[in-house]
Amino acid sequence: MTGPVLSVDDLHISDPRSGTELVRGVSFDVPAGGALGIVGESGSGKTLTCRTALGILPAPLRVTRGTVTLLGEDTAGLTERGWRELRGREIGAVFQDPGAFLNPSLRIGSQVAEVLRVGKRLGRRAAKAEALRLLDAVHLRDPERVYRQYPHELSGGMLQRVVIAAAIALDPQVLIADEATTALDVTVQAEILDLLADLQERTGLALVVVSHDLAVVAQLCTEVVVLRRGEVVERGATDAVLHAPQHPYTRLLVDEHNRYGLDRYLAPELEHAG
């Protein structure tokens, strides 16, 4: 494929009730098989931007300007039915709370298999075999056992793997991970980030990693966009942004890691920078 798999151009999102613009002129491209990081805190517009790319912008909010292009196709005119065709097949997503996306009263296996039966029109047996393959692909030990378990029997990290398995079930080109590791322990977060890097390498899945933590994004992404109060305040190659941040906000994020984080010990040349 040539050209970006996901392209957001000059996106503006407004709240018609108050007339405020929540997102102002956000643009970025995600190349096929690439990894883009979006850094921002709550209120930065990162989640609204992601939801627009998935066609699930919450009710009164509206895109007032700009375009979102998925696999070369403008999504502006898409109906709900059209979005349903795209979601899962071209673009998938995982969010902070994996529990919210699973039905607590159904077994894990049947929920993953359902995605395959509906989306790929697989038969019962083929869907189960494929679901087991997916659970294995997201590095769940003993997929057979997980297949039979209920959501409440799994830890947060395991649930997030299940949600990732369901998100990649229909072989999308892009996966958005919006604060997907925020609620997890650090070692579990690293497991999920490693899994995402693995999937990107093995299947050519393009990633959009959204996080409040610059370091999380730095682990996976070659390009980074920093959002603040609905605007892009900094963008560029990750290395360049980390070494020479331009905007005061980005400098604050880099500075925090260098002064208070592990980087203080890992990168001696930066130790006295703060």
Binding site: V186, T187, L214, L253, L262, R264
Partner: protein
């Protein structure tokens, strides 16, 4: 090592909740003016350790000694007298829940002083002084917790701990709920406190958030201390496999010393050991 006895000495501490063992044989030493990070993930027993130190949890075995006094042998009356002296203070993770919503924050900060029998005027003056110490304006004393931002509330919680001029302050996840700007502000306040000679204990799930201002780090895993060492040694030459995984999992700006394959190998090791 100085000949002076440590300010806080925890020896062979066991804590049980019913049949489950939360802590087994935990040890922790904090010298005067020293800053120690206690790092552990969900179920590591780190919060239990902190609560046992300040007497909110009664240990099943072992001793806690603060400033030469064996607090684990205290009666209720002795605890109350000891707490009123304000030698050791504790800062809760969530300042919104640890401040009385019906009282102006100044009244909450003044409470330890009023319990010492100091006059209201005396306490008011001390409140004003301590608010400036945590970089807040004195007029904030008349506001209610709901009127403050998350970062301001956390600094109010720190101010309440500082108002008795403690020698030791135990902080449970002091920055994990804050945004970047407020994290940095709180960490700056804590750095000044450390420079002023107050001993600090940081309880955190994330080594990366407090490594920069900790002299030493104690790592807890499944209710037991697995490693204690100076922070630089923990970060650059961790010994225990769990510490290596924890350090290797913490997101950093620079590519860490630990790669994906090593992490996967460490996880396998820990599975077979634990």
């Amino acid at each position: 090592m100085p000949a002076e006895p440590p300010l806080l000495q925890v020896t062979d501490l066991d804590v049980r909740y019913g049949r489950t063992t939360a802590l087994a044989g935990a040890a922790l030493t904090v010298h005067r003016g020293e800053t120690v990070g206690v790092i552990g993930e969900t179920g590591s027993g780190k919060s239990t350790l902190a609560r046992a130190v300040v007497g909110l949890v009664a240990p099943a075995a072992g001793t806690v000694t603060i400033a030469g006094e064996e607090v684990t042998a205290f009666s209720r009356r002795q605890w109350r007298a000891f707490r009123r002296r304000g030698v050791a203070q504790y800062v809760f993770q969530d300042p919104l829940r640890s401040l009385d919503p019906h009282l102006p924050v100044g009244a909450s900060i003044a409470e330890p002083l009023l319990l010492q029998g100091r006059s209201r005027a005396d306490a008011d003056a001390a409140v004003r002084a301590v608010l400036t110490r945590v970089h807040l304006t004195a007029d904030l004393a008349d506001r209610y917790p709901a009127e403050l931002s998350g970062g301001q509330r956390q600094r109010v919680a720190v101010a309440r701990a500082l108002v008795t001029d403690p020698q030791l302050v135990v902080l449970d996840e002091p920055v994990s709920a804050l945004d970047a700007a407020n994290r940095v502000r709180v960490l700056e306040v804590l750095t000044e406190l450390r420079e002023a000679g107050t001993a600090l204990v940081f309880i955190s799930h994330d080594l990366g958030s407090v490594a920069g201002i900790s002299d030493r780090v104690t790592v807890l895993h499944r209710g037991a201390v697995v490693e204690t060492a100076p922070t630089r040694a923990i970060v650059t030459a961790p010994q225990h496999p769990y510490t290596r995984l924890l350090v290797g999992s913490a997101p950093t700006l620079t590519t860490g010393a630990v790669d994906r394959e090593t992490r996967a190998e460490l996880r396998r090791q820990l599975l077979t050991v634990g």
